[in-house]
């Protein structure tokens, strides 16, 4: 009897491994067939930019401090310190396949194989590698060569634990199931920070080895929770509120944001990060860095949506185009909607007027500049943007991105650069006047710009329609 049980267990295990290999092969095939050089180069370009920044910052610190002895003692603190920021980053960026598609679900693929597949694919997830790789220059420059690899492995271990936690979080349905992940992350953060402090007591190698074991333990905890989660995919969501009185094109702007979790997170959650930075940055004084954060905070909601003007409408543009609906009116509505969106973060940073002595005129001018000018620089993405899926989880899911959009994204640097130059070179009063003037000019001229843009869109509409269909 026991032999029969053992044979059955072994057979099941072999079956699980076979299915896991099948899933991995399917996944590899999908990645290979979805691979586009244009998109890859666009993403690589931005990652290289971030690496350059990382290397530059590291070099600057190295120049000023030199390769100090004992820098490896910092590594455990860095590893513990990135846990929560990394989790938040992945919450916004990492897109996880947590549930089997129907064509898999209807096949005899065990749940265990699927869960192992989720674990293995986390090893190859870009967002699990991003922060450790970005911190690699620091490890290489400041540590002895024998310490680089274990340090990198430690950072990877922490990142992987966060990655599996995100997978569990995405898979969990309802806050009853999501809260345990958040609580576990906080506990993990506390444990990691507390343990990091023991680096001054324990030999470094032993400390890192035990830390790695703790990471493995964290991965195991999140993985076990992931395996325990049962998910039933039938959507029972009902409209909380009907916007029957709001049937206009303008109302479509805010209804789409309110009803798409992906857009909600990008529009309302991400700006909070910049607002938080404003409140922490002012401690160092109202310098260029602070004003840059201020600009980002005010600009963030429209900047997130404006990356892909018509990305939302691309889902139903055939329906829009065949109705007596004006492209010019849609674009004008977007411009006005973005201006309204910028008001919310402006109001949220208002307390800095009293806390940090921020000039109220400069704050108002920041809004005017953002709403009237910076948003206008986003509108031309209507000509090149693709359709975005409204109901996927991560905003920076690269579906819909194109090299053209990535390159055009650099145009956003123009208003940011103007703003930084003004705040750096001019006094607050003059700066406020200049920024306000630019913003008011933008409001005065936006109809002209929108008119030109709508005509340009109509000239190349067929290309745009084709792009939405892909």
């Amino acid at each position: 009897m026991n032999e029969n049980v053992n044979v059955n267990v072994n057979e099941n295990e072999n079956e699980n491994i076979k299915m896991l290999k099948l899933l991995l092969r399917l996944w590899a095939d999908q990645k290979r067939r979805d691979f586009k050089w244009g998109r890859f180069l666009g993403e690589a370009y931005f990652f290289v930019l971030f690496m350059i920044v990382s290397c530059t910052v590291t070099f600057v610190i190295y120049e000023e401090t030199g390769a100090a002895e004992g820098m490896e003692m910092v590594i455990p603190f860095i590893a513990a310190g990135i846990i929560i920021p990394d989790f938040i980053n992945k919450l916004l960026m990492k897109h996880d396949e947590t549930v089997m598609d129907h064509y898999l679900k209807s096949k005899p693929i065990p749940e265990r194989s699927w869960n192992r597949f989720l674990l293995v694919t986390n090893l190859f997830s870009f967002w699990n590698w991003a922060i450790p790789v970005l911190l690699l220059p620091f490890c290489v420059l400041f540590l002895k060569w024998q310490l680089v690899l274990p340090s990198f492995l430690l950072l990877m271990g922490v990142s992987l634990a966060g990655g599996v936690a995100i997978t569990a979080f995405c898979r969990a349905r309802g806050w009853t199931n999501k809260w345990p992940v958040l609580v576990a992350m906080v506990i993990w953060q506390i444990i990691a920070l507390a343990y990091a402090m023991t680096v001054i007591v324990l030999p470094w190698w032993i400390h890192v080895a035990v830390f790695l074991l703790l990471c493995v333990g964290a991965v195991a905890v999140f993985y076990n929770y992931l395996c325990d989660l049962r998910r039933y995919d039938e959507s029972k969501a009902r409209a909380d509120r009907l916007f029957l009185g709001a049937s206009s094109l303008f109302s479509m702007e805010y209804i789409s944001v309110l009803r798409s979790k992906r857009l909600r997170v990008a529009t309302f959650i991400l700006p909070l990060v910049f607002i938080f930075n404003c409140y922490t940055q002012h401690i160092n004084g109202l310098n260029v860095m602070f004003y840059l954060m201020l600009m980002f905070a005010v600009f963030a909601p429209s900047m997130m949506l404006g990356q892909w003007v018509f990305g939302i409408e691309g889902n139903y543009f055939d329906g829009l185009w065949t109705k007596p609906v004006s492209i010019r009116e849609i674009l004008g509505n977007k411009f006005r909607f973005y201006a309204l969106l910028n008001i919310a973060p402006t109001l949220l940073v208002m307390p800095l007027i009293w806390i940090a002595g921020l000039s109220p005129w400069l704050l108002a001018a920041t809004w005017l500049f953002t709403a009237g000018f910076a948003n206008l620089t986003l509108m031309p993405t209507a000509l090149i943007s693709s359709r975005i899926e409204l109901f996927q989880s991560a905003f920076f899911n690269y579906q819909g991105a194109s090299m053209a959009v990535n390159v055009y994204g650099l145009v956003v640097i123009v208003p940011l650069a103007i703003y930084c130059l003004c705040t750096w070179l001019l006094s607050p009063v003059v700066c406020a006047i200049v920024l306000a003037a630019i913003g008011i000019a933008g409001f005065a001229l936006y109809q002209v710009v929108i008119g030109w843009l709508s005509r340009a869109y109509e000239r190349r509409r067929y290309t745009c329609f084709e792009r939405y269909r892909q």
Partner: protein
């Protein structure tokens, strides 16, 4: 509303998917487009709605070229596929949006929606569901109703009987014919359902590999036999 097609060609690369030298659809006709898969029915409809660019030639609706003038939109109702639906809207909101786009007031909208109640079967209005949560059949019904409730002078429906249960198919066929008779709407529908198309169409165009190979008068439903013969021998 007369629709004129002249020297219309659509090519994808070297592949010609549509080639119609001349075609006039007279005002008030109910035209059925039939043909095997890939015949060019949907392509023709997309060209009529200016959703794709013709390689050569043009389409005029009421004397206006559809790719140069937007006047046709004010009197055209259409539904091709899911890209006509706004997934984050409920049906009520979707109909309200259409009504607003076409200048239909709320009372008129409510009155017009009443006549579609038999088609909706209590499964569309009042459910508080978003359009993306509906079954394909109910999405199809919503799209068709959205096209018809504007009382268009030109109605274009691509395979309107798809995904519908038999009762709904009969209802849709009846509603299309009533619209054509009551308002004189010029209707163009495509379908693989020969019996419905033969029953309601006054004229049937048979497409094959992008060309119109038969233009049949169907005023007395006498095209059915010819169509069946064609499709039987086409196997």
């Amino acid at each position: 509303m007369e629709i004129k097609i002249k020297d219309l060609v659509k090519q994808y690369g070297k592949n010609t998917v549509l080639d119609i030298p001349e075609l006039t659809i007279n005002s008030g006709e109910l035209v059925g487009l039939v043909g095997n898969n890939g015949a060019g029915k949907t392509t023709l409809m997309r060209l009529m709605l200016d959703l794709i660019e013709a390689t050569e030639g043009y389409i005029e609706t009421d004397g206006h070229r559809v790719n140069e003038d937007v006047a046709w939109k004010a009197f055209t109702g259409s539904f091709i596929d899911g890209r006509f639906l706004i997934d984050f809207y409920t049906p009520e909101e979707y109909f309200a949006f259409i009504a607003r786009a076409y200048g239909i007031d709320k009372d008129s909208l409510d009155r017009r929606l009443e006549q579609y109640r038999p088609l909706m079967h209590d499964e569309i209005l009042g459910t508080r569901k978003y359009l993306r949560q509906f079954s394909e059949g109910n999405r199809q019904k919503t799209g068709i109703i959205g096209a018809m409730l504007v009382h268009p002078k030109v109605l274009i429906l691509d395979e309107p009987f798809n995904y519908l249960d038999p009762t709904s198919q009969i209802t849709v066929a009846r509603l299309i014919r009533e619209m054509n008779l009551q308002f004189g709407t010029t209707v163009i529908i495509s379908s693989h359902n020969l019996s419905f198309v033969s029953e309601i169409s006054t004229r049937i165009l048979l497409l094959e590999k992008g060309r119109i190979i038969k233009d049949l008068d169907n005023l007395d439903s006498n095209a059915t036999q010819e169509l069946e013969e064609y499709f039987n021998t086409a196997e």
